[in-house]
Assembly symmetry: C2
Homo-oligomer: 183 residues x 2
């Protein structure tokens, strides 16, 4: 099948609802067969997920954060990350979020991939990074409503746990997959 | 840090916007320190992602689908999947979506994990499955507005490609991670 038999065209688009975190957009799109329909999608800022690796006497460990998630209404153990600030590039966002959430500053940050968190409905991208050569600065710099516990987890433990609580954030499994293929 | 220093409490919650695909909810939540604030999250149905494995003379291959995604506004090469129908269990949804999108019926379906697609904002779950012993039935059964090209991809090709177009759906990288740790 040719790509032209799969590609849709956007005919028009408008914002229908806005929140602090995302906006809802309704677009009229034309199918490959020429039929028109309405589709809702979400605009939101791009964000960084950073896989921070510590070389310890006990082997490689990830620096992870345990925090409450308002969507799933549960605690989740994750790689650090957060949305890009205006005009901030991905590597800078990754290094900043790592520092703010965990107090580690990275000596090296490398991109592992840029993906769509959920291309069916989300228009933004999630940028995955590897952070190495970590230096402990002593204190987190959390937002006013952030409550984040920092934990060190062996690579084996994260791999084994992924898919079960507290490793329930699917985009962290994606980060781990990109880490495994790039190291 | 104790879990009680991380857990939030939902004080009240209301639907503020509804679409065909998801609803937007605004909840008043109390932080571990007792401070109250408003948070927006999305309700949407659970869905299945199914990793279909074919044993071929050229080795193991995944059955994948190439389709347009309205959120990312691009073509994406993915594992099949879709939302649960009412009262349908995950395995049944996985087998049905596999059949409808690719015309393959699975002899065996096994759960690989249940995760949150994006726990920061989404309340639903994505259920990952492995499908084996596939039987070709001859024709897809697509929804009226579905345009899906079926492709066979070697495991190596999917691993190598993940994180770059057309392998840009991050939840497929999560599926591949769960596949790799379970096979």
């Amino acid at each position: 099948m040719d790509d032209k038999d799969l590609v849709w065209t956007e005919e028009s688009s408008r914002l229908v609802f806005e929140t602090r975190v995302f906006s809802v957009r309704e677009s009229r799109c034309r199918s490959p067969a020429g039929k028109s329909g309405l589709y809702v999608t979400l605009d939101a800022p791009d964000w960084a997920v950073v896989v921070p690796v510590l070389e310890t006497e006990g082997g490689r460990r990830f620096v992870m954060v345990r925090q409450w998630r308002h969507g799933s209404r549960e605690l989740s153990l994750e790689f650090p990350g957060g949305v890009f600030e205006q005009n901030e590039d991905g590597k800078a966002a990754a290094a900043r979020e790592l520092y703010e959430e965990t107090a580690y500053r990275p000596g090296r940050v490398r991109e592992l991939g840029v993906m769509s968190p959920n291309p069916a409905i989300m228009a933004n991208r999630v940028h995955f990074f590897l952070a190495e050569d970590l230096h402990w600065t002593g204190s987190q710099h959390l937002d006013e409503d952030e409550y984040v516990a920092v934990e060190q987890v062996t690579v084996e433990e994260a791999v084994r746990g992924m898919g079960r609580p507290p490793y329930t954030h699917a985009l962290m499994a994606a980060a781990l997959m990109l880490y495994q293929k790039n190291t």
